[in-house]
């Protein structure tokens, strides 16, 4: 049994400390928005998803062990929030006239290069879970274990999903190239 250390007694922590939250917000907001935009495609939704993730963190009881754990929590929130946003959008699209559709990225930015656009459009055609695994692996550069934690799936699933997703991506690009 581990022996307990003596010390002053203090109560259980309440919500996430505001100062730590503000630090996380400043440090990670941009990278999380970039992660979200790779999953939801438009900036407004990406910002909403990230804001919701920080709001959830603000309401969380107790602090996380370290900033890495906090970032992992936020990352998972962003992935889950992006999935929900996509689901909501599929519904909303039935009501939105084409000219009212959200813009395809930050206004006034250069259009993405053609070779990247092909890959990106192929990525959009993958199943949500496949896309999430590829984005976390090839943009966030997470390990299999970290991706498994973020998505709540096993490492084996991460490996097999990534492998199938790459095959599918290659097949889509190859088919598009033959047209």
């Amino acid at each position: 049994m581990a022996r307990l250390r003596s010390g002053a007694r203090s109560g259980a922590s309440q919500t996430f400390p505001p100062a730590e939250l503000a630090e996380l917000y400043v440090a990670h907001r941009l990278s999380l928005v970039r992660l979200a935009i790779l999953l939801v495609d438009d900036l407004a939704s990406a910002e909403d998803v990230v804001q919701d993730a920080f709001a959830a963190m603000a309401g969380r009881r107790g602090r996380l062990d370290n900033s890495a754990a906090a970032l992992a929590y936020l990352r998972t929130s962003v992935v889950n929030g992006s999935r929900s946003a996509l689901r909501r959008r599929r519904t909303a699209r039935g009501y939105v006239a084409p000219h009212e559709a959200p813009p395809d990225g930050p206004e006034g930015k250069a259009v993405i290069a053609e070779e990247h656009r092909e890959v990106y459009e192929a990525l959009e055609r993958l199943a949500p879970r496949q896309r999430e695994v590829l984005v976390l692996r090839y943009w966030s550069h997470l390990s299999e274990a970290e991706i498994a934690d973020a998505l709540g799936i096993s490492r084996g699933s991460v490996k097999s999903t990534a492998s199938r997703a790459l095959d599918a991506l290659e097949a889509i690009l190859s088919k598009e190239g033959q047209r």
């Binding site: 049994m1 581990a2 022996r3 250390r5 010390g7 002053a8 007694r9 203090s10 109560g11 259980a12 309440q14 919500t15 996430f16 505001p18 939250l21 917000y25 907001r29 941009l30 928005v33 970039r34 790779l38 990406a46 804001q51 920080f54 709001a55 959830a56 603000a58 309401g59 009881r61 062990d65 929590y73 998972t76 929130s77 889950n80 599929r90 519904t91 039935g94 009501y95 990225g105 930050p106 930015k109 250069a110 993405i112 290069a113 070779e115 990247h116 890959v119 990106y120 990525l123 590829l134 984005v135 090839y138 943009w139 934690d149 998505l151 709540g152 790459l166 991506l169 290659e170 690009l173």
Partner: protein
């Protein structure tokens, strides 16, 4: 990296870097908010509020000045007359048959049709719910979003006591039910609060885990529950056989759904005959839920080491458990031997008191000490298969220290009646602990490697 991996990395980087700091909205750090479902005051008042809540669900007062459930926006009020309804979807195909139910409250069942808007892959974004009212002979309808799922009428319940019945509409297992109320010759979707949610399925909690949720009709009322603890698995959740849930009763006021907390109960998969089990919550057995009063100590201390063995009986069957180097060996009643390698390092020891876990035929706890911590492994026998269980999630398993400075202790032990507990120090140096009782998840697939799921039984306890 292969060519496709290089191309993908470049494309993702290019797309992500289109977002620059100046593209973002002005920064706005969210303020801390306490989710009322997890607020301690909710538990304190829940039992006392129960009777009053059912009789007068809109006057429940948390009474401590902290954030409390915000009543839904009351739109529209009954005094307002609804604008004429645009006839949408009368030509959509009727996809699903629905049993007739009495919607207008005249004692005669009314015919219901669910027309789905055509679309891909299965259905379009909306569905039209039509009812032929037997009392007037007129057809009424309402439109609900499908969220890409075939929707159907789940229940008809009088939620506002006006004699007619509201219809609950089931969609996906992770999105809330829609509720349609009959008003001014129209079926109008009721406003719903953001929490709790009317969901039958899993509500993800953002950390790779989720809460179990269910909606049901009972004694003429509409109820829902949400598990107090989170579970891994997600699709599906690996829920234990017994776990506590917060129960809510629902009413309809001025066109808005209003939740009233009923209190904490337990879903107990073993409480009734499996053939007739309805999955509805029942009063919790001893030791479950944050109000549990079971005794946590003394802990069981007898162990064996490498080269030693002990016999144990579970029900009418006897097993022999031994340690052979770094392998746990279980001899089954028929003489067959099963071996499980122990990956923790160091000399293992096995507790001779079996762990009492519903869902496992035999469960033994192995500890492997190293420094000021011990790795622990729960080995379980199910259907002749012996495996080391998984212990993923937010609660640590074994003995050791948490935090960046490793100054918050955690400890796992077998308590009275073989119950497995872990306590986690709330703050460095504090004499208060959050105590979790472990349960075996995986009620869905017995062939899968089982996962231990922590259930919070004491918060800030001086164990």
């Amino acid at each position: 990296m292969s060519t496709i991996e290089d191309r993908l990395t470049s494309a993702l980087t290019a797309r992500a870097e289109q977002v620059q700091p100046e593209d973002l909205r002005p920064p706005e750090v969210p303020a801390p908010q306490v989710t009322w479902l997890r607020h301690p005051a909710t538990y304190v008042v829940a039992a006392a509020a129960c009777a009053a809540a059912i009789a007068a669900p809109f006057v429940v007062d948390l009474g401590d000045g902290d954030p409390s459930p915000t009543p839904p926006v009351t739109t529209p009020t009954p005094s307002e007359t609804l604008p004429p309804q645009e006839d949408v979807g009368s030509d959509w195909p009727a996809e699903l048959g629905t049993s007739p139910v009495d919607v207008d409250g005249d004692g005669v069942r009314d015919q219901i049709r669910v027309r789905h808007e055509p679309g891909k892959p299965l259905v379009g974004p909306r569905a039209r719910i039509e009812v032929d009212l037997s009392s007037t002979g007129e057809e009424v309808f309402g439109i609900v979003p499908t969220l890409d799922w075939l929707v159907n009428v789940a229940e008809a319940v009088d939620l506002d006591g006006d004699g007619d019945r509201e219809l609950t509409i089931f969609r996906d297992g992770s999105v809330p039910f829609a509720v349609l109320a009959l008003r001014d010759g129209q079926l109008v979707e009721a406003e719903a609060p953001s929490e709790p949610r009317l969901v039958t399925g899993t509500i993800p909690t953002g950390d790779g885990r989720g809460r179990s949720s269910r909606v049901w009709k009972q004694d003429g009322g509409l109820f829902s529950y949400l598990s107090v603890d989170t579970f891994s698995g997600i699709e599906p959740l690996e829920t234990p056989q017994v776990y506590p849930v917060d129960v809510t009763q629902w009413s309809l006021v001025d066109g808005a759904l209003v939740p009233a907390p009923v209190g904490e109960q337990c879903v107990d998969h073993a409480s009734t005959d499996p053939m007739t089990y309805d999955g509805l919550p029942v009063p919790c057995p001893e030791g479950y839920g944050t109000g549990g009063s079971s005794t946590l100590l003394p802990d069981q201390e007898d162990v064996i080491g490498p080269g030693e063995s002990f016999a144990v009986s579970e029900g009418s069957e006897s097993f022999t458990v031994s340690l052979d180097g770094s392998e746990l060996v279980v001899v089954l009643p028929g003489g067959e031997e099963r071996r499980v390698p122990l990956s923790g390092g160091g000399d293992p020891m096995v507790y001779t008191t079996p762990v009492n876990l519903a869902g496992g035929d035999l469960n033994v706890l192995v500890a492997q000490e190293g420094g000021d911590s011990s790795k622990m492994t729960l080995v379980t026998l199910r259907q002749g298969r012996v495996t080391a269980t998984l212990t993923e999630g937010p609660v640590p398993f074994g003995n050791g220290w948490l935090g960046p400075d490793f100054d918050r202790s955690f400890r796992t032990w077998i308590g009275p009646e073989g119950v497995l507990y872990t306590r986690v120090q709330t703050e460095p140096g504090a004499e208060e602990y959050d105590v979790y009782r472990w349960s075996l998840g995986g009620t869905v697939s017995m062939g899968a490697t089982p996962t231990l799921q922590p259930l919070l039984v004491r918060q800030g306890s001086r164990v």
